[in-house]
């Protein structure tokens, strides 16, 4: 029954206001929305609010918390690992972008061009994503072993000297980037592949008729047509790689000599090994602010490209 069908002379009942009509019209939608809102409120917004509060407090969860101003921030900033952690995280993010952004895109283009064994190769590319991250990391621990690891054996076959991989300050971080790229490239490749398959073939045919070669076709057709997904993936990857944790935690313990300590790894140390949850929260808040900047860019880019 609609409001229009309600008899005008139903006693002294007032006409429903516009607001009420809007609520009635959308009551089911609001019902569904409530579930999501409650989940977000409990599991995302509330923890974030608590994180902000805790980063300005000192608490032992027994006595009432004390407000300590910026003391927790001073604690983490004065930590000798604070600088290396941010530098390592930034370098990791940059390297992970170079490898983890370019390689899946190129792989997707190659897979898109293939006419045979397409499904098999997609499966092979996606396989690492299906492995639990801890398993992948431990697999690479064996690959990287300087004495009997797969990589040094492979180098030995072509008469190249073995590397120290995780044991050297100069190669440890890039070793983590390789692990991260291997673990995550499957998802990126599939997303790029899906985007590539939405490009009308007529555009390529037209480009070919205009005499465009492979690289010109990629530059003038593929990249503009997948621009939105490329930008979104770029920003999502920055947000994800800046939170690198499992690779240093399981493979290097932040070493050697702090060469792989990351911001999240340091946060974990404060929260769980040093018993200073408040300082861990302060570090988390710093990272959150940095990531919010990237998220703001992401939202801006999404909006500009969808208007």
């Amino acid at each position: 029954m609609t409001t229009a069908s309600i008899p005008a002379a139903s006693g002294r009942r007032r006409q429903p206001t516009k607001l009420r009509r809007a609520v009635r019209r959308n009551v089911t939608a609001y019902g569904f929305l409530c579930g999501a809102l409650i989940c977000f409120a409990f599991f995302s917004w509330y923890p974030m609010v608590r994180e902000v509060i805790l980063s300005f407090q000192r608490t032992n969860f027994v006595d009432p918390p004390r407000w300590v101003g910026l003391e927790n921030f001073r604690t983490v900033i004065n930590d000798p690992a604070f600088g290396p952690a941010w530098v390592n995280t930034a370098v990791f993010t940059l390297l992970a972008l170079l490898c983890g952004y370019g390689i899946p895109f190129v792989t997707a283009i190659v897979l898109n061009e293939l006419r045979h064994a397409r499904a098999y190769l997609r499966f092979v590319v996606y396989l690492p994503v299906m492995l639990p991250p801890a398993v992948s990391v431990l697999l690479f621990q064996w690959f990287y072993n300087p004495d009997y690891g797969l990589f040094n054996q492979a180098l030995g076959l072509v008469h190249l000297p073995g590397l120290q991989w995780l044991n050297s300050t100069s190669t440890a971080l890039i070793s983590l980037v390789i692990v991260s790229t291997w673990m995550n490239m499957g998802s990126g490749t599939l997303i790029y592949l899906a985007a590539l398959q939405t490009i009308p073939s007529e555009l390529y045919e037209a480009a070919e008729l205009d005499g465009a070669g492979l690289f010109k076709r990629i530059w003038h057709v593929t990249i503009p047509q997948t621009k939105l997904i490329l930008l979104v993936m770029l920003l999502l990857q920055i947000v994800a790689t800046m939170q690198v944790f499992i690779e240093p935690y399981l493979l290097t313990g932040g070493g050697p000599e702090n060469a792989t300590v990351s911001v999240v790894y340091l946060m974990y140390q404060y929260a769980f090994n040093f018993g200073n949850l408040n300082a861990g929260n302060a570090l988390g808040l710093m990272l959150m602010i940095v990531l919010m900047v990237f998220s703001a860019i992401y939202l801006r880019v999404s909006r500009d490209n969808t208007v």
Binding site: Y30, Y46, V62, P64, D147, G253, N273, G275
Partner: protein, 459 residues
């Protein structure tokens, strides 16, 4: 547009409502969920943790037997909840459990975390009650770790000093005499070189270098050489000394000049244990419990391993674990919790010291720990006699450690910020094991400056 505003209103309202619903007040927590009845009004209810896991059937059965016997002996105490989460003390869950009221009344804690919990007020003051424990006065110095400013905050239930764990089979293969293990670091170095010479995969001596365990073993090594990590007043670093330098120089020499340490980095506790259990590693620094753990947890051949005294030891790093009481517990719960600790862990002939039962359950008996009581006390003598009478393992595997460690004073963790200090000390440890050109003087000076800054910031 109106609809949009309504959505925003609804979202904000729900978020605020949810946040308000979740808001916690830490000040008025009633402690763990087990309830405390007023004195004389009925049984007092407590909860305990660290029940052995289901996979460890024999120890779990003895635990449950002890629990039943304890409650029969103490009808006014009800153990309402028993948890078996492993590890017994998990820093990742400790504070969330404390905040949510889920922390057990009686909780396990290992030595490296004791000082921090006392410092942060996360353990109950037991001082008024501890003298009711019959064996309390017999404790050796391990109890000191649980004391601060004359107050007692917990009770050690397991304790041991460091030693040198070695693989007898590997020693024999390398032409070394397993009944005459190294007594000096020079002998360790020579033995490690011979073992590494056995071929690919053989490691003479293994050592940690990350995740704070590198710093932990540096500390144990410095203690052994007679040095300290921090000054007695806890205000300054004290490891940039000939002792600290000797530790790093020795490792650097073995790693790079002798090539007797392999190139694998052992960044956490299980990594080195796995390597030792693998049967191709000759020696590592460890406590007597390492032998049992190599067998029970890492599949090592127990009979192949032995432990001897830490070479040239002037002090032994004091490792172990104990129990503390939830700071939100009532006095009745504290008393009940202490009774459980006393029955299960501190009474000769009962609980963990019921060696006759352990022997019949095919658990190992004879290992020289827990080392809780002074040897000249009634408790110390009783435990020693029971242990010897029921021993079912080859005591010779521990004999070198027992004899060699006699009279060497124990030395505790370096204060409440031990983990932060260990993290800093990981750096020189990993440097000497990964860089041939490591500048040891510079590494020690850098670490010293960092530890000094850390301690200064803590006031």
């Amino acid at each position: 547009m109106k609809s949009h505003k309504l959505s925003i209103l609804l979202v904000s309202g729900l978020a605020i409502a949810a946040a308000a619903a979740c808001g916690t007040d830490n000040s008025g927590g009633s402690g763990d969920k087990a309830s405390a009845a007023p004195e004389g009004a009925g049984p007092v209810s407590i909860s305990v943790n660290c029940e052995p896991p289901k996979t460890n059937k024999a120890e779990r059965a003895t635990f449950e037997e002890d629990l039943a016997a304890f409650q029969q002996l103490n009808p006014t105490i009800k153990v309402a909840k028993v948890t078996d989460a492993f590890p017994c003390y998990d820093p990742r869950t400790f504070e969330p459990k404390l905040a949510s009221g889920e922390l057990e009344t009686v909780f396990y804690v290992n030595f490296p975390n004791v000082g921090r919990l006392i410092e942060s007020g996360q353990a109950a003051d037991l001082t008024p009650y501890v003298n009711e424990i019959k064996t309390f006065q017999d404790y050796n110095s391990s109890i000191d770790l649980f004391k601060k400013d004359g107050k007692v905050y917990g009770l050690p239930t397991d304790g041991y000093g460091m030693g040198l764990v070695y693989n007898k089979e590997v020693f024999t293969k390398a032409g070394l005499d397993p009944s005459s293990p190294p007594k000096t670091w020079a002998e360790v170095q020579a033995a490690a070189k011979k073992i590494a010479g056995l071929g690919p995969g053989y490691v003479g001596y293994g050592e940690y270098s990350g995740n704070n365990v590198g710093g932990w073993h540096f500390t144990a090594s410095v203690y052994g050489r007679g040095g300290s990590v921090i000054t007695d007043d806890g205000k300054k670093a004290a490891f940039n000394t000939p002792e600290g330098k000797a530790v790093l120089e020795n490792l650097h020499q073995m790693r790079w000049a002798d090539n007797s340490m392999g190139s694998q980095l052992y960044i956490d506790w299980p990594a080195l244990m796995k390597a030792m259990a693998g049967g191709k590693m000759g020696m590592m620094l460890g406590a007597p419990d390492v032998l049992i753990s190599l067998r029970n947890d890492f599949g090592g051949k127990f009979e192949n391993y032995a432990i001897t005294a830490q070479p040239e030891a002037k002090a032994l790093f004091n490792g172990g674990a104990g129990y503390m009481i939830n700071p939100k517990a009532t006095p009745e719960q504290i008393k009940a919790g202490l009774k459980w600790i006393e029955y299960k862990f501190l009474t000769p002939g009962k609980g963990q010291f019921d060696y006759a039962r352990a022997k019949s359950a095919d658990l190992t008996v004879g290992q020289p720990y827990p080392d809780l009581y002074r040897p000249d006390t009634p408790s110390g003598q009783a435990v020693d006699e029971l242990r010897k009478a029921n021993a079912n393992i080859d005591l010779a595997q521990f004999a070198g450690w027992v004899e060699g460690s006699k009279g060497i004073p124990p030395k505790a963790e370096p204060g409440p910020y031990a983990q932060e200090i260990y993290k800093i000390l990981d750096t020189p440890m990993s440097a000497v094991l990964t860089r041939k050109d490591a500048n040891i003087d510079q590494l020690l000076a850098d670490a010293e400056s960092k530890v000094n800054s850390l301690l200064a910031s803590k006031g």
